[in-house]
């Protein structure tokens, strides 16, 4: 009897573990930006999976306000992926890469939270959120400016309030808008 149960149990465990290791629907398949990296004057390519996030968290100083804020934000996250390119000419990046990403973000589960177009700065920022059940489990930001193109994909349970609190941290001045 035990011998009959053992393979079933093993199979169940394998299925459970493979389900656990399955990719989150909030994880975007970012295109290969090798050609952009060559053309860009500056590029940022950050891939932090759960292992690297855990490793980074161990090196954050709880006494340091910047580190403490970072530690607070990444709690519950399983991945942060950033691709950012700065160019010396206007719109030197192809729109096809952005369209590929937008197609992924039109999949069920993703919702556009904010769509911003600035005529003055020619900036275009889209903020998408992935919702599973009633909880946010992913965030994507696509920001395109004439000389800059950025994609941010954050995977895991996200507290938008904490992200908003990042403002004023990491060298970003606190937003003080002047109104005419």
């Amino acid at each position: 009897m035990n011998l009959r149960i053992a393979p079933t149990l093993l199979l169940s465990l394998l299925l459970l573990s493979s389900a656990g290791a399955a990719e989150s629907p909030a994880l975007l398949r970012l295109p290969n930006f090798d050609s952009l990296t060559e053309r860009a004057s500056e590029s940022v390519n950050i891939t932090l999976d759960s292992t690297l996030l855990g490793l980074a968290a161990r090196f954050l100083d709880a006494e340091d306000p910047e580190d403490a804020a970072a530690k607070d934000v990444i709690r519950g996250l399983t991945g942060i992926y950033v691709r950012s390119f700065t160019f010396e000419e206007d719109f030197a990046y192809p729109r096809t890469d952005i369209d590929t990403l937008r197609k992924q973000l039109s999949a069920p589960g993703w919702q556009r939270l904010v769509e911003v177009r600035s005529r003055k700065e020619q900036a275009h920022v889209d903020i998408y959120i992935s919702i599973l059940g009633e909880k946010a489990n992913g965030l994507a930001i696509i920001a395109s400016e004439p000389r800059e193109f950025t994609i941010v994909n954050i995977v895991g349970s996200i507290d938008l309030e904490k992200l908003h609190k990042l403002e004023g941290q990491f060298g970003i001045p606190k937003l003080e808008l002047e109104k005419d």
Partner: protein, 119 residues
């Protein structure tokens, strides 16, 4: 009958050793003793040499293990600090782009901002 007795007596009569018998026996005894003494002396020497190599190998293994451990720690620290730098940079970029969105949304000049309904 007498003939048989004579034959038996002749066969069983005491015979003296050949010449040099005792010398040969003594020589053999002496060589045997020497060989066993040599073996007895060689055994601890072999053990001593063996145990010396074992100690050297053990010490070398400990040194190698310590060096590998130290190297691993240094590597972990480098990777950890690199991951930390990347994390701070990623959060800075995220914050920067959220900041851009807030700026555009709050900018009084003409812009198009949409908040998707129901979110």
């Amino acid at each position: 009958m007498n003939d048989l007795e004579d034959k038996m007596r002749d066969a069983l009569r005491p015979v003296g050793p050949t010449d040099g018998f005792s010398d040969r026996v003594l020589a053999r005894l002496a060589s045997g003793t020497q060989r066993s003494t040599q073996e007895a002396q060689a055994r601890p020497r072999f053990h001593r040499a063996n145990s010396r190599w074992v100690s050297i190998a053990l010490a070398a293994s400990i040194v190698v293990a310590v060096l590998i451990g130290q190297q691993w720690r240094v590597q972990q620290q480098e990777e950890g600090l690199k991951a930390r730098r990347q994390l701070i940079e990623a959060l800075r970029v995220t914050s920067d782009k959220l900041d851009l969105a807030y700026q555009v949304v709050n900018d009084p000049s003409p812009s198009e901002a949409q908040h998707e309904p129901g979110v």
